[in-house]
Point group: D3
Chain length 243, copies 6
């Protein structure tokens, strides 16, 4: 594990992580998360009521929407609003973030309220979906605290049963590496996004062979690397929430 990385990191090293809470004045929770040059603004919006299929169930709902500013990337992408539809990649990531957050939400404890977490990528350099999940959890936590302050949920109940963070891993030139930046992501033979809880369990594992298929040993190495990365991210989240 001693291959040189673009930015001089070690194979199992995260990029500098920053979680800036209260970045915006309006949302109930708002976090600017940075994984190196990747910057995602995560805002959590609380509204009373739930989607139709949950009405009367006593349960709340948490969902997420992911998007990129048109020039968050090196080349400008057309706006999905102008194209008139949300692309497949965008929908896939929005669904992933929503599932990841709901894995640690007790919807009964939320009551019939909805929290929408918007993750807007202001600048992209690889790992936007994993940064988004990591920041979204913190924004969600702040929104839940706001709800408790407003007596929208009972003090005795905690709608959050744990925390989630996420990281990408990949194999480059045969070496498993943690938290790929864009340049690495493009070169990776295998690319995996892993969502973990703070206690090291898996919420989502999505591995794709971009080049040659990967074997079980490679898969195992990637899972080890990701588990370690998520653990570190979880401590960043704790630190941010305590500050």
């Amino acid at each position: 594990m001693s291959a040189a990385r673009v930015d001089g990191r070690k194979a199992d090293q995260l990029r500098p992580v920053t979680l800036t809470r209260k970045w915006s004045i309006h949302p109930e929770g708002s976090v600017l998360v940075e994984f190196g040059q990747t910057k995602v603004l995560c805002t959590a919006s609380v509204t009373e009521g739930v989607p139709r299929w949950l009405r009367g169930s006593g349960k709340g709902w948490v969902t997420a929407e992911y998007a990129m500013l048109p020039r968050a990337t090196n080349t400008r992408g057309d706006r999905e609003s102008v194209k008139g539809k949300v692309g497949g990649r965008t929908q896939e990531i929005s669904r992933l973030i929503g599932r990841a957050l709901r894995a640690v939400v007790d919807t009964k404890a939320l009551g019939e309220n909805t929290i929408i977490v918007d993750c807007d990528v202001l600048q992209a350099d690889g790992g936007t979906r994993t940064a988004a999940i990591t920041g979204a959890y913190v924004a969600l936590q702040d929104a839940v605290t706001w709800m408790r302050d407003k007596k929208l949920i009972k003090a005795s109940k905690d709608p959050l049963t744990g925390s989630v963070s996420a990281v990408s891993v990949g194999i480059i030139d045969g070496v498993p590496m943690l938290d790929l930046c864009y340049e690495e992501d493009v070169r990776a033979e295998t690319d995996m996004n892993v969502v973990c809880t703070a206690d090291g369990k898996f919420v989502e594992v999505q591995g794709t062979a971009e080049g040659a298929p990967f074997d079980r040993a490679e898969l195992d190495a990637l899972l080890d690397l990701a588990a370690g990365g998520c653990k570190e991210l979880a401590s960043h989240q704790v630190k941010a929430l305590l500050s």
Copy 2:
């Protein structure tokens, strides 16, 4: 691993698998794949030319589109054509099938030709995306053979570098099980779709905690089960292609 299953299968047992080639008269490749009650019609259509971004590259393209008939399921779903947009789940699965197929395609050997594999679910009972991938590979193989017969590709080159099949696995009441039917899928705490090559390597691993997060031991058990199931499916594919 002795828990009773809805249909009396053992935990590591596939449902009856059928691969009916030449189901339709028009397409270059067409396969009706059945995993138990799940029936997917996979048709492979060859067209000359490639999408814009590949023109002049000498490379071909393989892509897939997945869809469900409105009453393939127990409750009728609205048509996506009538709603005017393709849903997130549909796009996600279409992208997955396309990636899985491209993992075994040498696009250079295809020349500047495109193969679109349509996977239309005629009847759904769980595992539609994994059945689709398994059937799509066979339809793709038939389309490639058709191209060779028509001299659209050189006899000396094989655009297919291997085969892919896919299967779902999940944990139900703590027991890892292979090839979930719909009733099982709904009850699964963890749900994973795995795409493998015939030589046992991984092309895609997508695991999601539907209920509680899963630990590494559970993940390992699911991967073992899936690898075994894909091996068996690969032999079904070989048998179908030789018949």
Copy 3:
């Protein structure tokens, strides 16, 4: 009337007709109808309630949606879901099937229930709309029987006041012919689709001059031919429903 046809049929001869009931496990009525190589899956779905404009009227509603799988035809057509809109031809045929079915439905006897009949063309070789109507009626009948079994409608009332079937006719090289296959349809100077009740009355007559305008004598010959074809189709429907 002795002109040779592509498939050796006589001018007034239908292609082989098959009506396979209970083709799918989920729908309340499901029929695979085949007119030669044309295969249409007709499924009838019962839901409680009616569209807004009928609420409180005590009347039910029957409607239809027609679509083609992308590779049902010789050349692959783009999916309407991907294009984001339903084409004019598709809408026109959906509306035709719905009107044809409603011609034999007593909506009062249905109660405030809706039956949607989906007609999905799995393989096309001319006459898809007429095959669809012929199969849709049988699926509708099965759905009505299911409703009676479930006590959703009163035993004393029959929501179906008759039966409908449909057939295409056309003039090729000056000869009126029944039930055109695709190759004939393309060559026809005049093309007509006729929907009849079992007692020989007309529900819909749609004739179009594809080449030269047609005179009254030709129109009369086509109507005679169509009436005969529908009569024969009606007996196929009876036989299928009795089996």
Copy 4:
């Protein structure tokens, strides 16, 4: 045939017909057609070039688009532009008008030019599609004359091989009637739209049982009535074009 009509007409009598040419200053052909209170503005626009599938064929193209102003009817209808899609009825009628016009067009003689005929209903009182066809033909003729003046087509060739007009017929209280106004249209058991050439041949026959199915004798009576009405409309067209 002596039943009283809403407006005192005889059963086989057209409403007052007006064809005002050059109603607008911009289009190459423009006609305000009135069938009683029904008013449709038909404009024919000539553009060089043809749709992609005709390029290089040496043939031209004629197509039509039909639409209603939102308050052309008694109750305001939502704009299709605002709804974001063209309704089924609108598409069906646009396609009908296009087919009717093309039945008398020699596309070779047009050269690679396109004529789009827009039929916008300014006020509706039944028979909008038949008025549209009748007016569209006159606008088309004016556009063709304009093209000849501009030397866009050769003087020796006539792209119009005949004329078309259209009329609705229906059975009300058992009596076949010509050219239904809205109030009659709503009450009709059977409704038929017929497009004829000036020499009395049929271009399109579309009959629908709105109530009870109709028998052959009724169909024959309607066809007779329509043929007579179209003949009269053809003479209105000639008169307008000569004026």
Copy 5:
């Protein structure tokens, strides 16, 4: 102010203005407004009820929709219904007309009723939005009178607190001119649309430098000219309403 104009008018002279009330039979108010060759059909439709955000408020709503027939202009424009979306210019003008009308509406006096004013440009020669506003006011007045006759609003209340009219002004070759026709509009360096009440106050001022930016003196001259034009239009409105 003596520069020659295309049509011989003086710089501060309106084109001939016509306001034809009751142009259509169906709408509660309908006016064909003509500013020279510009013809806009304005229809006011009354419906009971209000948009969701006003329910229970006791207030009514007035809104407007502007559109152009495809061949209202010199070159045919694609239909927005066919394109599937309403263009920016169309929306901008619809919003402008709605705001202009609401400036003289007392929504309380309307009660929970909605008036939609449709402004459809039948023929365009510059100034379509200002003609639309000028005609829309008259149609609105007629619809309000209709409501009073139908007792939908109390006789003691007048929902209209004043009148509005609008005119375009522009600078051509350095000379400020009133009510530009299309040919002038294209050449104008600065283009301004002004909406005034009958008592000479401003409701909307929208000035744009098409060529060089304009200075305060030019702006002042344009405002003077527009105020004079609106005053004259207001007297046309009064005359039309009294006739």
Copy 6:
């Protein structure tokens, strides 16, 4: 002019203005502009080539797209990408920004290149469109400098013929005020957005009576106030570009 303002400002005082250049790493020009709590990210993207209607003209193109993040405002707004269409307000503002920038662009000097300026509102507190224009100009200037460095434009030509900035003004409780924050904007009887060049000329004047119509004296006072504000903003732009 001594009325108390929400934030203690004087009636003719701007909020604190910040223009942070190079806020993002990818775009050719990027500026975070802040007018008090309003924050807009303006990025200028250079691409070779021009829209179809300009090809071969030797001229370039500058256009703008404005959008708001869903929770930029106090209440979350639905994403336009999810709704499938761009709203009227968004389009209106995008068009305004584009026109404002083009007023100081010599498209000939740009060559056949396109600059798209995206203005994404990260946080809204009134005046988002005027802040966007003010920041967009600076981003545009940086993009032009980048083009010169890359030799995409000749050193001898300056595509920018001046600078533009914009500010809102309004009348609150009878007092004309500069640069309204959201709370003031809601209360304003009259609201005007003014775009000026650095030499004090007008590029765009858009005034709307939200409450009572305004008279000429009020309009004059607002124009004076806006001209002063723009002058100050122009000096902020110069300072930012020199830093």
